[in-house]
Amino acid sequence: MSLVFAGVCSHAPGITGRKHRADPTVRDAFYAAYERMRGAIEAQRPEALVVVGAEHFANFFMNNMPSICVGMSDAYEGPIEDEEWLGIRRCRVPGLADLSQRLIEDVMQDVDLAYAQEWKFDHGIMVPLSFLTPRYDLPVIPVNINCQGPPLIPLHRCYEFGRALRRACDRAPERIALIGTGGISHWPATPDSGKINEKWDRAFLQRFLANARDELLAYRDADVWREAGQGGLEIRTFIAVAGATQGCTGDLWFYAPIPIFAVGCTIAVMNLGKTV
């Protein structure tokens, strides 16, 4: 069929793990934006949800680190973290190995990939799923872009991956939804946890929502690291979504810095410009 939905959202573990410590007004508004995104995804009746995330040493380590890896299994599980710590119960998440394989083979025509037939989801995927597919009944195809252990894949390759993923989705008969999940500015799991550069975030979101390719690809990791923290390197996931939606602009449904969640909490949806 085609790509029927594309958006981005935050995934920080504090969003679920430290929810009781956030200002309830802003927290509940953020949760409501996730809920709105869930409704928008369901309205498109997807048969699979591709989640482009940035995992955090749950499955991939510096002994054998893929720049991009796509899951290829009929089932996954998560969270790998302590359930109480994350505030999400461990469960089985369905996959679609056959669709994964077809997407991988198609993307490989343009972009080198790794694949994995085992994958334990960490908060990078489980936090979004806990809001967007709370019954864990929509098959998920996980994608990881290494944003944690440098050397990291260049931004322009993330964009090209997104373009290739879009072509592959459009050639598949299934209805496919896509979310990217990462940053934006944050200094997670460090003494600076809770620091958020809202000005930087809003400038980045402006480029992202305009799908301004050249401006997005002009970011340099050294600048991102300095101004948006090591967590800012996760913009790779957003840039992959920008590539997958080239030519489309997006709408910001929610943005607010929530320090106890350690990130500028973001929900945005791209306008695919088609009725299906």
């Binding site: 793990g17 430290r18 955090h56 040493f57 749950a58 499955n59 380590f61 510096m62 002994n63 790998i80 973290e81 302590d82 710590w85 334990k120 944690q148 252990g149 440098p150 997670p188 799991a189 460090t190 003494p191 946890s193 050294a222 690291w225 300095r226 090591q230």
Partner: protein, 102 residues
Amino acid sequence: MSLYAVQKLIYQLNRDPAVRRRHDEDLDGLLAEYELTPEEQRAIRAPDIGLLYVMGVNGQLLMHYAALRGYEWDRYIEAMKAGERQYGPVRTGLYSRADDRS
């Protein structure tokens, strides 16, 4: 390579219940399988979360290891700050401000 080894130990502790059991039941044997410096061995045995942070252990590994060793969130953050006060700035890795990032 030593930072790599201590991070690999923490990675495996975080994700593998069997490694966690060995940690509890045979720590000497487990540590012997990794090429750790005496300082790294001390930091794991203590545990000294602040020292591990200063050594350069990635926080995405360290926060889960800290939780595993009984550190709730605020205590984990404070342990890293205390580590910087006691041992100085982060020596290497993604958080090192000494690395050339210009």
